[in-house]
């Protein structure tokens, strides 16, 4: 297998962000960074676009709202209107609580489903982490070295200069 990737392992979060900044300013492409917890400044450093999950949540919420109001009106007004305590068939105010609950339910389930589907997180997906410790206490920066201005050795040296504890070259992960 061709060794197309360079992996640098770090122990400290600020060094990771500095290294990513430096590598990107050298025109290198960052394949990904693996970390045991989210690093906030990394989004800007890696140029990750803001997630569109809020739109998914909105769509789920609107779907829940429409479903709830439609269900309430169809059953209470169209299909079998029942006179309960002389209240109007379309008691819109009384329909609010359930419409609200189903709006939240729709938005919440859509958000969770959106996250899992977009990230490819499904049961029995086999994770191939570069390093078992990346979910424990190590930060791994993975750089593409193919078609890059610098060769592999230069990239490795760059990572070491920026505080990587170890570097390694390897093939594509999957």
């Amino acid at each position: 297998m061709k060794r197309d990737l360079v992996v640098g392992r770090f122990q400290q979060e600020p060094l990771v962000v500095d290294a990513v900044h430096a590598l990107r300013s050298c025109g290198l492409r960052i394949a990904d960074v693996y970390s045991p917890y989210p690093i906030h400044r990394l989004d800007a450093a890696m140029g990750i676009a803001p997630s569109r999950l809020p739109l998914v949540a909105l769509a789920g919420g609107v779907a829940g709202l429409i479903a709830a109001v439609a269900l309430e009106l169809y059953t209470s007004v169209i299909d079998w209107p029942l006179n309960v305590g002389g209240k109007p068939d379309a008691s819109l105010l009384a329909f609010v609580p359930i419409a609200f609950e189903l709006t939240i339910l729709g938005a919440g389930l859509a958000t969770a489903a959106g996250l899992l589907i977009q990230s490819g997180l499904v049961p029995f997906r086999v994770a191939t982490p570069l390093d078992r410790s990346a979910t424990d206490d190590t930060f791994a920066v993975v750089v593409h070295c193919r078609d890059s201005a610098l060769d592999r050795r230069h990239i490795e040296q760059l990572l070491l200069n920026y505080g990587a504890l170890s570097v390694e070259s390897r093939g594509l992960r999957r």
């Binding site: 400290q12 979060e13 600020p14 917890y37 079998w80 086999v126």
Partner: protein
């Protein structure tokens, strides 16, 4: 999600100038955090755990026996009568739903408010929410008398017409509120655990464990792109859970407030019930965590400062509850409604006055001791206070429900209510269910959100270098 409050990193600083990590004692490394959280999952449980489990499981068995007897014999085994048709079980229902609210407050509202202290306790508080809502849901179910027909409360096309459910009824609003709350809480809890399952998968020994954690982790690998999306999703779920939790107890209070019964028919009920729910929930979180931190040796993460912060919220919400009690009495006097007045006079001087005294003493007076910093930092004092509040909040619901029902408009219907042994045994059983679930939780799942605590520790340690 976690505010960067420490000074900017200075890599040349000496170790002596490290800022103190505020919410974790003793600056553990990231690996030590994993080790500490994993310890209860891989080590053999100690005697304290086994004894607690034995007591909890026995209580659960008592409850199973009581419910079995009630379901096979009928609701007549309870002390209910024609006048007091809601009493012990609806008290238990409102009590348990309320307990759950602290979990959502900690995991969602404090997340949006960027409170760092929530990280160490959020996971167990969320677990508490789920178990409490499960206990709560059991009560309306068995109150139906024929719980196997419980699905009739759902609007589905049936062969009876179809005869639809009544969407104007607050009891149906409850069905939707409780089920939505349970579903969203479960989703929030599970999504929060995915990164920790991945950590456990990569550290676990033994094929069975590794397989289980591997399935649960959904192939999580800690990629920055996934983390970025994950953080957005957490914030969204927190933003959705916040109005949800407020709506749930609001709707529970509407079961009472939309009736015409004096003592129930009050516009103050929704905020009063929500504050009471958070109050009782925090008392339960304190009770649980004070036990768990000692038994599981997690004092490093659940510090006295955490307990202090929770005590402050308890003081705040307890004061709101005290104010609500006072407002109710003021309105009964000021409103010039003789029925309303009679109900409130009966609460203080009637046959259930002893219950009112317990409720007012435990909920309005006792928490005022928390103004004293020394009491807020004393673990035994907090434990005692948390138990008092649990008891007081149970009595609050009992007093609201029973005193309003047992003497309403028609004096010819006036009657006393006494719980039967079966009802008491069912309450004991619900505590058994709650603690059995919680004890299993602390042994099977990571009870501290490792990735959140690591983020806190990592930021502080990064800032120190």
């Amino acid at each position: 999600m976690i505010a960067w409050s420490a000074p900017l990193p200075d890599r040349h600083a000496t170790p002596a100038s490290r800022p103190r990590t505020r919410w974790i004692a003793g600056d553990p490394t990231l690996r030590e955090i994993t080790d500490d959280v994993m310890r209860p999952l891989i080590s053999r449980p100690g005697a304290a755990w086994w004894w607690s489990f034995l007591v909890a499981a026995s209580a659960l068995a008592v409850g199973v026996a009581a419910v079995t007897y009630e379901v096979t014999t009928g609701i007549g085994t309870w002390g209910l009568n024609k006048t007091v048709g809601w009493a012990f079980d609806i008290t238990n229902f409102v009590f348990w739903v309320g307990i759950g609210h602290a979990g959502t407050l900690i995991s969602a509202i404090l997340l949006l408010l960027r409170q760092q202290w929530r990280t160490a306790i959020s996971r167990s508080a969320e677990a508490m929410t789920i178990f409490a809502v499960m206990c709560a849901a059991m009560f309306p179910l068995i109150h139906m008398g024929r719980p196997w027909l419980a699905f009739w409360v759902l609007p589905y096309p049936n062969s009876r017409g179809p005869l639809w459910v009544n969407f104007r009824s607050p009891l149906l609003w409850d069905v939707f509120a409780i089920n939505t709350y349970l579903t969203i809480s479960l989703v929030f809890w599970y999504v929060g655990m995915i990164p920790d399952f991945a950590t456990l998968r990569d550290r676990a020994e033994g094929p069975l464990r590794r397989f289980a954690y591997s399935v649960l982790s959904l192939g999580w690998d800690g990629s920055a792109r996934t983390w970025s999306r994950y953080e957005t999703a957490s914030t969204l779920l927190a933003g959705l859970a916040t109005p949800l939790v407020i709506s749930v107890h609001t709707i529970v209070s509407m079961d009472f407030a939309t009736s015409v019964l004096p003592g129930w028919h009050a516009t103050i009920f929704p905020p009063y019930f929500v504050a009471g729910a958070v109050f009782s929930g925090f008392a339960m979180v304190l009770t649980l965590l004070i036990i768990v931190r000692a038994v599981m040796r997690l004092e490093r993460y659940i510090t006295v400062r955490h307990l202090d912060a929770m005590a402050k919220i308890m003081l705040f919400t307890g004061s709101i509850v005290g104010l609500a009690y006072a407002s109710e009495f003021y309105n009964a006097w000021y409103g010039h409604n003789i029925y309303e007045r009679a109900v409130f006079l009966n609460r203080v001087t009637g046959p259930y006055a002893w219950g009112f005294l317990i409720m007012a003493g435990c909920n309005a007076c006792a928490p005022q001791l928390l103004w004293v910093p020394r009491i807020r930092r004393s673990v035994p004092a907090l434990f005692a206070l948390s138990i008092l509040v649990n008891v007081g909040m149970w009595f609050e619901r009992f007093i609201i429900i029973v005193t309003s029902l047992h003497r309403s408009f028609l004096p010819s219907t006036w009657i006393m209510y006494r719980p039967s042994v079966i009802e008491v045994a069912t309450l004991v059983g619900s505590f058994g269910l709650f603690f059995t679930c919680f004890l299993l939780f602390v042994r099977l799942l990571p009870m501290i959100a490792m990735w959140e605590v690591k983020a806190l520790a990592g930021h502080d340690q990064g800032a120190a270098r």
